[in-house]
């Protein structure tokens, strides 16, 4: 198990390295002085010289990358071009909004989508299966940013039930929650349908396995067979799916934050792109991909814990 964990962590580190290399080379691929790119055109010559010194811009590219890597590992992702505050601090005050949004979005999708999929699989061909089927395809088909826009239009501007922009007053939990509802609804909606369909398909596959027939031949109760046997196996591919799904969810969160002006990491990156605030873009991208890699790692570990066959092969 420890072996597996180490191997996976090593692999994750390799992927992060690849990501860093990509980010680094992007800055260096485009023509122009990287210092100006990093500090912005309004930077003073002294600042540019200091930056060149700190990033070892006179050294060979490989050395530069190693220094870049070293700084990143120490948590130094550079400074905000405008406020000159450390990028880590800027991200730190925004990441909470993004995490809350992503986790709430996925959370309600799982809580609704998985039971729906089970129900549809247990009664294939019935009205509940059909309705779930049509609804889930419909939900998958609508891009999440369009859901965000239309939800904003309908619930905030037209019905005026929920606030349209921002993340709520700091310290006021109910206000923050009311600001969370619409974006979380928007990014989770497609996932309700997607999960329902995936759980249904994998449940149907498992329900056809010989060991389910064995359980029926031994006279076990249908409820026990579905929840204790079939779902126990069918949930495994679903966990992988949810883990990988966080990638898409991050994209959706970027849109939701922009549309609802929610001060999260996604909005931060977007604004930084328009401002050509490169250290922020770099840091944000690193945090987003790092988060995603961790989630996938966690889901793999969860499967290893739940599936004795995977555990045995570690």
């Amino acid at each position: 198990m420890l072996n597996y964990l180490l191997k996976r962590l090593g692999l994750a580190a390799l992927v992060v390295m690849a990501v860093l290399l990509l980010l680094f080379s992007m800055l260096h691929m485009i023509p122009g002085n990287p210092a100006i790119l990093a500090l912005g055109t309004r930077a003073t010559p002294e600042a540019i010289a200091a930056y060149s010194e700190r990033m070892h811009l006179d050294e060979p590219v490989l050395t530069q990358f190693i220094f870049f890597l070293g700084n990143a590992v120490q948590g130094d992702l550079g400074n905000d071009v405008f406020s000159n505050r450390p990028v880590t601090a800027v991200i730190g005050e925004r990441i909470g909004f993004t995490l809350a949004l992503i986790c709430t979005g996925m959370g309600w999708a799982v809580l609704l989508g998985v039971p729906l999929g089970c129900l549809a699989a247990v009664r294939p061909g019935t009205w509940i299966d059909r309705i779930t089927g049509v609804f889930s395809v419909g939900m998958i088909a609508v891009p999440s940013f369009l859901v965000s826009i239309w939800a904003l239009l309908l619930f905030s501007l037209h019905l005026r039930w929920l606030p349209a922009i921002g993340a709520g007053e700091p310290g006021d939990l109910s206000d923050q929650l009311s600001h969370l509802i619409l974006p979380a609804f928007a990014i989770g909606l497609g996932w309700v349908g997607y999960l329902a369909r995936m759980v249904r398909a994998s449940m149907l596959e498992v329900m056809g396995e010989p060991y389910i027939r064995s359980a029926r031949a031994f006279g076990l109760k249908p409820r026990r067979i579905v929840l204790g046997y079939a779902l126990r196996v069918a949930i495994l591919p679903t966990i992988t799916l949810i883990g990988m799904g966080f990638g898409g969810l991050i994209s959706s969160a970027v849109f939701a934050e922009i549309i609802f002006s929610r001060p999260g990491v996604g909005k931060m990156i977007f604004d930084a792109v328009s401002d050509r605030n490169f250290p922020i873009v770099q840091g944000g991208v690193l945090v987003a991909t790092g988060f995603y890699i961790l989630v996938v790692l966690f889901s793999d570990l969860l499967i290893a814990w739940l599936d004795p066959r995977v555990r045995a092969s570690l």
Binding site: V15, A18, L23, M26, I30, I149, G208, I250, F278, V285
Partner: protein, 301 residues
């Protein structure tokens, strides 16, 4: 005149031909009796037709401004209303479809081909190559599409080419993974071993014997990926990092509509409908095709 002696057509062969065409007919009729499949087909055909024939179908020049009539709702003159510059939204939607079709056609086919080849190589080639490619796919997948797009645009500036590149790069891993898994499953089957024992070369095995068994699920995946690709384009254009104004795209219509959303709801409504219809159409069609051809779903048992 004597009839030349000839081999009688074997009864089995006739029966087989008959049963094959019957099977095809049955598949077609089961396809046509599924309302989702028919709806999907109709929507997809409509998407292609409207995009291809947009210049002839559009009632106005998509960039012709009519300032007095700006931001109007649907009317007989402008069935989808007008934008803040008084351009006809319906004409812009039709022309925006051309962008969507362009991205979908090139993006999906390019990543399908590259993903298929890379996936087969990863699944059939040596272990180290497989590991390397997997690492590569993982690294690419670790970038959520929008994040990658933002990072790229931050450096290169927005353009349609960037959108296309992002679409291709981010969707290759899903094709490659499906192709790799299917190839791995085939790799140790007896029929592949049998081909090797006959002396078939690796390219022959890959393209004659592996590919025909891998391509089916990949084509279905491609149908399902079209909505994803169209959404990426619309999403990036919505953020202003894809297609640039004044060119019409569903994303730019939504972008402009979002800016004036407090004044008129019509633009974001009109800009969203074609996007939904297209994605719905391809999703329905993809699902129907999968139900029809996926042996796991189709088997009666």
């Amino acid at each position: 005149m004597s009839v030349p002696p000839s081999d009688p057509v074997p009864a089995e062969a006739l029966e087989l031909r008959e049963s094959a065409s019957r099977e095809r007919r049955e598949k077609l009729s089961s396809f046509l009796s599924d309302w989702q499949a028919v709806a999907g087909l109709v929507l997809v055909v409509a998407f292609f037709a409207s995009a291809i024939f947009a210049p002839w179908l559009a009632p106005y020049d998509p960039n012709a401004m009519d300032i007095p009539a700006r931001m109007s709702g649907p009317s007989w003159d402008h069935i989808a209303g007008t934008d803040q510059l008084g351009r006809d939204t319906f004409s812009r939607i039709l022309h925006g479809g051309r962008v969507a079709l362009y991205i979908a056609a090139i993006g999906v086919s390019a990543s399908l081909v590259v993903g298929l080849v890379l996936g087969m190589i990863a699944g059939y080639g040596p272990r180290w190559l497989d590991n390397l490619l997997l690492l590569l796919f993982d690294a690419v997948r670790s970038f959520p599409a929008v994040i990658l797009a933002l990072a790229t645009v931050a450096l290169t500036g927005p353009s349609l080419t960037v959108v296309l590149a992002i679409v291709i790069i981010t969707t290759i891993p899903s094709y490659a993974r499906v192709a790799r898994t299917a190839t791995m499953a085939l790799r140790h089957t007896e029929f592949i071993l049998a081909e090797r024992s006959l002396g078939a070369s690796t390219p022959r095995i890959l393209f004659h014997h592996v590919m025909p068994n891998v391509i089916g699920p990949l084509l279905i995946l491609a149908a399902m990926e079209v909505p994803v690709v169209v959404s990426i384009e619309a999403g990036l254009s919505f953020l202003g990092i894809g297609v640039l104004p004044p060119q019409a795209s569903w994303g730019t219509i939504l972008n402009e509509g979002y800016l004036v959303i407090r004044d008129t709801p019509w633009m974001v409504i009109a800009g969203g409908i074609p996007l939904i219809l297209t994605t719905l159409g391809f999703t329905f069609l993809g699902e129907a095709l999968r139900d029809l051809f996926d042996p796991r779903m189709g088997r009666g048992r």
